[in-house]
């Protein structure tokens, strides 16, 4: 694939990568977030502090981790501990960004990765929370990376595995979740979305290259708020793609 062309995963990785500032802590889950974190370290954020659920803190992501507890998640790390040390670090307020995924998302950013249908008689049994609920409860800002279609972006998820803004403004705090936390961005191959500061409903911030606002709306199963100015998310740069292909994922596990 040439530097001008890129595949959907490459787009997601580059878009997510740019959301990670230097000298910040980020709770990194399996898949796209690992590639995004590795790319970020090699681009604009050499001191991004990657934190992995099962104990790695501050690893240098020279080689791409393929799973959340494998040796690359604590390669030349500053600390290698265990899951509770990590999640308690998040619970104590030290982790700024967290990455999430799911089968369904609603306008308030609530995520479902547990069941389609009724919990006790599910149509589809999904894997369950994993670390998702922990990340969504404790990290200051969570970023969901999703496939974008109207069966996934729906008015009401079948099961709130991981809390977004729950029923809306104030609901997280009422439930006892830490104040000032919650969903921050949703990244898809069609768009980048945020949340309205008052209503806490999902809001279109930017479209991905070549995607129209109409396409985004069409593929979203609920009313999407619109930012005053909808930006065009810039495509992956030649430099990003080069590093991604030649350094981050040399073995093409994901791209």
């Amino acid at each position: 694939m040439s530097a001008q062309e890129y595949n959907p995963n490459e787009l997601l990785i580059c878009t997510a990568s740019r959301l990670m500032p230097d000298n910040t802590t980020a709770f990194i889950g399996t898949g796209i977030p690992m590639l995004a974190a590795s790319l970020a370290q090699k681009m604009h954020a050499p001191n991004l502090v990657a934190i992995f659920e099962f104990g790695g803190t501050g690893a240098i992501l020279e080689d791409l981790p393929l799973a959340v507890g494998e040796r690359r998640t604590f390669h030349r790390a500053v600390a290698a501990s265990g899951i509770l040390d990590i999640v308690e670090t998040a619970q104590r307020g030290f982790i700024e960004y967290g990455f999430l995924g799911g089968a369904q998302i609603d306008p308030f950013g609530n995520l479902n990765s547990t069941v389609i249908g009724d919990h006790d008689k599910p149509k589809v049994r999904l894997p369950g929370s994993g670390g998702g609920n922990d990340v969504g409860s404790h990290c200051w800002r969570t970023i969901a990376i999703m496939r974008h279609d109207s069966r996934r972006f729906i008015e009401k998820v079948d099961f709130i595995t991981t809390p977004g803004y729950l029923a809306g403004p104030g609901a997280r705090e009422e439930a006892g979740l830490p104040p000032d936390t919650g969903p921050y961005r949703v990244v898809t191959t069609l768009a980048v979305m945020g949340y309205h500061p008052e209503s806490k409903r999902m809001m279109l911030l930017a479209t991905q290259p070549g995607v129209t606002v109409e396409e985004v709306v069409e593929n979203t199963g609920f009313e999407l708020l619109m930012a005053e100015e909808i930006e065009s998310s810039p495509p992956p740069t030649a430099e990003e793609l080069r590093i991604l292909r030649d350094e981050v994922d040399r073995d093409r596990y994901y791209i």
Partner: protein, 323 residues
């Protein structure tokens, strides 16, 4: 203590910390040679219907040779605490699981677990009680501390809590709402480590996941180890011991015990066999064939290693880079 909300999930294993104390008091404190085979350990320490748990992350450091033996011996109606990938999938594929305290069972980048879907959607797994990853680990931690619950801020506001057996209360110091997680005491815990002595003193290299917590939350604990080392090696580095011997009931020497999963610094994951399982797990028939080939068709873990092949195992070792 006023409870503001409680999950509808049943307590699959009740947190009786006083009974746990009495049990722990009776465990032998003598240094006894506890080495045995997978077959002996599973036969002696796991009963049908037991509540069991495995410690691992993804496919890393799985007590796979022990899990294979559970299936081989036809243990059934197990209640299981799960965060798991391949090893819980094998138990589900073998249809020996009746109830789950579940946080995550899936194939990571390969997606959902076909076996979990079949077993839960068919109702063969009768009960799924939901938790987060840390939620389960904290439940082990509560048992390890010897207290019946721990307060946390995970799970609040979610259906994960609603379908758990957690409770929500108001903190009597601050007024903050807290999710109380009940202690989880395992009948049998299974842990694979880098090295152990014959008494059960066990050490792990790299991150330690929730091994300390699960080991201390288990009434019976089976440790498998890549290598059995002299006790003097343990005593030379006591800081590295994560499981002291008195917690342990059986020590099983299991080189490549985590295969097809990996063991950091020793061997890498066998991606080909994982993919073979992903394919096989798609139907009950191919699942049975896979289990036949890798579990029922081999006598023990040594025969399993032979089946996988010396060359392939050597290759997995060779893939490990310097530290």
């Amino acid at each position: 203590m006023k409870v503001l909300q409680e999950g509808v999930g049943p307590l699959i294993q009740p947190p009786d910390l006083n009974a746990f104390r009495s049990w722990n008091r009776e465990k032998p404190k003598a240094m006894i040679d506890k080495r045995m085979t997978e077959a002996e350990a599973i036969d002696q320490f796991i009963q049908d219907g037991d509540y069991i748990g495995t410690e691992l992350y993804g496919t890393v450091r799985c007590p796979q040779s022990l899990v294979n033996e559970i299936v081989r011996q036809g243990k059934k109606d197990l209640r299981v605490a799960g965060q798991g990938v391949y090893e819980l999938d094998i138990l589900l594929g073998a249809q020996v699981v009746k109830a789950l305290d579940i946080t995550y069972i899936g194939m990571e980048v390969y997606g959902v677990s076909n076996c979990l879907r079949r077993e839960v959607e068919s109702g063969r797994v009768e009960t799924c009680v939901e938790w987060s990853n840390a939620g389960i680990a904290w439940r082990f931690k509560a048992a390890a501390m010897g207290v019946p619950f721990l307060p946390v801020r995970s799970m609040l506001g979610s259906d994960t809590l609603r379908y758990s057996s957690a409770k929500v209360i108001e903190c009597p110091f601050t007024g903050d709402l807290m999710c109380l997680l009940p202690a989880l005491i395992l009948d049998v815990g299974l842990i694979h480590v880098h090295r152990a002595d014959k008494y059960g003193n066990a050490q792990i290299d790299g991150i330690t996941g929730f091994s300390a917590e699960l080991a201390r939350a288990s009434k019976r604990l089976i440790v498998s180890a890549e290598e059995i080392v002299p006790t003097e090696e343990i005593r030379a580095n006591p800081e590295k011991t994560i499981i002291p011997y008195y917690l342990v009931d059986a020590v099983v020497e299991a080189p490549f015990g985590s295969h097809p999963g990996e063991m950091c610094y020793i061997y890498e994951r066998d991606e080909d066999q994982i993919k073979e399982w992903i394919e096989a797990s798609k139907t009950e028939e191919t699942t049975r064939a896979y289990l036949e080939k890798y579990i029922f068709g081999v006598r023990d873990h040594a025969a399993y290693r032979q089946l996988v092949g010396e060359k392939r195992l050597a290759d997995l070792k060779a893939m490990v880079p310097g530290r």
